[in-house]
């Protein structure tokens, strides 16, 4: 079941391809860019399936995207805030919890915790920014849960921090808004539905396995959502915005399902 121990992890490989595509795409005009991306992204099987290049037809892309939006709606309908992700005993914690990002470990952002501020934006009463000690001083909760990656692997880890629902209440967030959107110090971004934001297991994680959250897992703060896949658990959070505007996400904009819940 172990992940392959090659120099290039699958997510690195995906990221490399993505980066190459972005670099190339920038040099092309918009229409050939769209064609290039479509062909680049669905090369292979489609040609084999039919003997003709299905990807020439934008309809295919658009049908798949409609299915993905439909799957968002189904998942939001299936989502029951009373359903909890299983919690495990301490002996189940993975001893080799992987680093995972769209870049390599050498590019992990080095953040100075003394200077770091969490910015709040959008539909909230209190938009003042937060320092790390202020978050450390709030009531902390702890969880040992399974982190499931979109790639299929999963690992059990222990995260501690502030329950996100408590924080949203404290800052007077409009919890009738549709989305909570995150911007991160590593240029990652993603957004989630309000119901998942308010789920009791969704936390602003400040610690990992009893120690201060290390850089590779998102220092100084990551959003830990055990009811969602790994790419919906953003690290190195800088800005939290409550909004009714759909802001997508780094991988979601490339085709990963937006709801991404488990």
């Amino acid at each position: 079941m172990k992940k392959i121990d090659v120099d290039l992890s699958p997510s690195d490989a995906d990221a490399l391809v993505k980066e190459a595509q972005q670099l190339l795409a920038r040099k092309l005009d918009s229409s050939s860019r769209r064609r290039f991306l479509r062909q680049g992204l669905t090369l292979g099987g489609v040609v084999m399936l039919t003997g003709c290049d299905l990807t020439d037809k934008p309809d295919v892309d658009s049908v798949l995207n409609k299915f993905s939006r439909f799957n968002d709606r189904v998942q939001s309908w299936l989502f029951n805030p009373a359903n909890l992700s299983p919690e495990y005993s301490a002996d189940r914690i993975s001893q080799s919890f992987p680093f995972n990002a769209f870049y390599g470990e050498e590019d992990i952002p080095q953040i100075n915790g003394d200077q770091w501020r969490l910015e709040i934006a959008g539909l909230v009463n209190d938009k003042r920014s937060w320092s790390l000690p202020e978050l450390y001083n709030m009531q902390q909760v702890d969880q040992i849960t399974r982190h499931i990656c979109v790639e299929g692997w999963s690992e059990i880890g222990r995260w501690g921090g502030v329950r996100f629902a408590d924080f949203l209440k404290l800052i007077g967030a409009d919890t009738t808004a549709k989305y909570v959107s995150f911007k991160c110090a590593d240029d990652y971004y993603t957004s989630i539905d309000m119901a998942s934001a308010l789920h009791p297991q969704t936390i602003m994680a400040l610690s990992w396995d009893g120690r201060i959250l290390p850089p590779e897992y998102g220092y100084p703060m990551k959003i830990r959502i055990p009811t969602k896949l790994g790419y919906k658990n953003p690290k190195h959070i800088q800005v939290i915005e409550i909004t009714n505007r759909y802001t997508g996400g780094y991988w979601e904009d490339e085709g990963y399902n937006w709801f991404g819940g488990s």
């Binding site: 099987g45 798949l64 799957n71 909890l84 979109v150 055990p226 991988w251 488990s262």
Partner: protein
């Protein structure tokens, strides 16, 4: 039955043929995209060659997989419902006995199993088709756990957890691919079965 009615007798009703080909298309899409998804984090010490997968990258494969799953599942429900509703299930797949299975398997190996009447499944066929129905059901159930392991918590626990569901999904896929391989060989040996599945007679 006179010759005329025998000639025009319908072997597979239209709804069955529609279900069959919808299912075939869904299975091809789900298997090829599934192989690409598998490659992102292989369970075993091998990967599927990229050229025979669908989707181009993990995100594309997931889009195909999560689109075709609706066709696969809905088609499966229609197939089972129509089979039960029309009484076809009992007529075609039952009775099934171990003795009959061994007898038919043996005569098949000796090349003596006749396919004179395509409306009648022999015991080996019955067993194979019932087997693949169970496999497809397992694929759907384990797939639900992989897709929504928190929301389908009871199902997840019944299957032995999220990681166990990954293995069940993989083994069920392997069984399905094995079935399809044998199925295609048998159709090649008795080509009129393909005609029957296309035009009904």
């Amino acid at each position: 039955m006179d010759d005329k009615s025998k000639c025009s007798a319908v072997i597979h009703p239209w709804w069955l043929r529609v279900c069959h080909w919808m299912n075939a298309a869904a299975i091809v899409i789900m298997t090829l995209s599934g192989w690409r998804i598998y490659n992102a984090s292989p369970l075993f010490d091998f990967r599927f060659p990229g050229e025979i997968t669908l989707g181009g990258w993990l995100g594309g494969a997931l889009q195909w997989h999560f689109a075709a799953m609706w066709i696969f599942a809905a088609n499966g429900v229609v197939y089972l419902a129509m089979n039960l509703f029309t009484g076809r299930f009992g007529k075609k797949f039952l009775p099934l006995s171990l003795r009959g299975f061994l007898h038919d398997a043996l005569s098949a190996l000796k090349g003596k199993l006749a396919h004179a009447d395509l409306r009648q499944y022999n015991n080996v066929q019955r067993a194979a088709y019932l087997f693949v129905m169970v496999v497809c059901l397992l694929l759907v159930l384990s797939g639900l756990v992989l897709w929504k392991s928190v929301q389908f918590g009871l199902l997840r626990d019944l299957l032995g957890g999220y990681e166990a569901a990954r293995y069940i999904h993989f083994y069920a896929m392997s069984a399905l691919v094995g079935f399809v391989a044998v199925h295609i060989v048998m159709v090649a040996l008795v080509p009129k079965t393909l005609l029957a599945m296309l035009r009904g007679r």
